[in-house]
Subunit: 315 residues, 2 copies
């Protein structure tokens, strides 16, 4: 199960009535934040996401509306007695950007800053929270894929795939007389030696089951690679900076998308649902333009501040 | 005349229903901003102060709630086609802090960063806006005094004195046959040579008249020097982080003040009006505690986001 909260739906500038477009993913009580514009900590407070359970922050690109909330959020986390390290992932340049923004702050915890060099990162859920796996040979709880986007700054799209454990075949375990205290480890794919016997996890595990996929592309022009990257996403969160067809040229010049362009990507990528966000400050009423997306991809939703989704594994 | 807008009334953290405690001073259509916490640009938008007319930013101290709105505000000003330089004044360390916060931003204008070393700065109003005077021998339009405060970081209090020109004695000018095209320069204290005659400004200027004084002390414990620094202010804007007497110990430990302590300073300084601001996030309803100030200094007002004052020269 994955909880998703769209903290804000704005792009470019924080507005009195619209927070900037950051996203919280909640998994097993811990949190991943995607982007952190000015005011993100205020939205987190308003929508009760909590600060203490935040383990990883993914930054798409080094533009203020995706970044300038970091010093405030990190300070607030420090004042909340955090001592566990936090990981910040971003494009090349993120290391210097975070160092600059946090120059004046004393933080009682360590920040791991990772400039994304490779396509996939594995996140594991431990009793201490979500951390990046150092065992690259094995799938983590969440596989994070990245893609280079086409924006006016070096920009990364993220796809989060919640890996689902195969079903545990309880009947097999009983029939084979496997002691119940070993079931948990076997379910996690471990082979267990116990009282002289080797129990192979395959004895009690069913077939692979589909996980949950959420993809996020903001800010960018449409690219050829996006449809494959977002393929079969349960939820595709995409920038829709401009709603009106007449703003097509602005979208091209400013390296953004129209609602229509986002919908075309959603259709090509065969996603379940499209969530549009990152509306231009000039777009007062995104609802006026929703048909520009829906006429191409019916299952389109418009983002608004505090919008929540819960995605469950499909049976 | 001086316009004052209290953009926010909160301290420590930006909250969904309370902006951080920044102040805009408006003089002859141009603006001075005091402090710039996260969300200050949002409050400026909400309360229609404008961005283009901002010339000087005074930072009291290098704590996030007074500083972390800078990168966003400076970016927004850059996107508003600003090319004129802006001046940022602050305590020692402000240079590095601003450099760090703006590391990732391209700004189309220059930032003059001034670490306050001396007690007084003179601001002059020109057709290009408000700038610091380089002629230290002469009073500017606004004289800015500073004072070292007692906080957990190196912190500066600011006092702004709007110097009032002496009255222009029109009758004298007429009786003395002074050509009308010279009146403006004479009124500005200039002596003018014209058609072989020297006109001394004293011929047409009356006595000195009192200006307008606004003093700001946040964040700080009460100090012995504050009453003299704020003396006879038309408006004394002071931190009142805690309202309740029971929080006196917190005020001491965290280097802040209670409402009562601020009121004692206002009384000692013989100011006209006290404006309390910078309320702790734990103080939901400052109004519950206003009597703690009013019982000592009657003309106390509680800050709230967007509160406006207009101070006029006294006749």
């Amino acid at each position: 199960m994955l909880d998703i909260i769209l903290l804000g739906s704005g792009g470019g500038l924080p507005l009195p009535n619209r927070y900037l477009s950051s996203i919280v993913l909640g998994y097993k009580g811990r949190k991943i934040l995607i982007d952190c514009g000015e005011g993100t900590q205020v939205a987190m407070r308003e929508f009760h996401t909590g600060f203490k359970s935040l383990d990883i922050i993914c930054i798409t690109h080094i533009h203020g509306d995706h970044l300038f909330g970091l010093p405030g959020l990190l300070s607030t986390m420090g004042n909340s007695e955090r001592v566990d390290p936090i990981t910040i992932i971003g494009p090349p340049g993120i290391y210097d950007a975070v160092k600059g923004l946090t120059l004046t702050i004393y933080l009682p915890y360590h920040i791991n800053i990772i400039e994304v060099q490779k396509d996939t990162l594995e996140i594991i859920s431990t009793k201490n929270g979500l951390t990046l796996s150092t065992d690259l040979s094995k799938k983590g709880d969440i596989s994070v894929s990245t893609i280079r986007l086409d924006h006016s700054a070096d920009c990364i799209g993220y796809s989060f795939y919640i890996n689902r454990k195969p079903a545990f075949l309880k009947e097999n375990a009983i029939n084979l007389g496997i002691p119940q205290n070993l079931w948990g480890r076997l379910q996690y794919g471990e082979d267990v030696q116990y009282e002289g016997k080797l129990y192979n996890h395959k004895m009690v595990l069913g077939h692979q089951r589909p996980g949950i996929k959420v993809s996020i592309t903001t800010d960018t022009r449409p690219t050829e690679d996006i449809p494959e990257f977002i393929e079969n996403s349960d939820l595709f969160i995409c920038e829709g900076t401009y709603g009106d067809h007449q703003d097509q040229n602005k979208a091209i010049v400013n390296k953004h998308m129209t609602f229509e362009e986002a919908a075309v990507l959603a259709k090509k990528g065969n996603v379940d649902q499209l969530l549009l966000t990152h509306f231009s400050p000039a777009v007062d009423h995104p609802m006026d333009y929703i048909e520009n997306a829906k006429s191409i991809f019916e299952n389109t939703e418009l983002g608004h501040d505090g919008l929540k989704f819960t995605l469950k594994f499909k049976d």
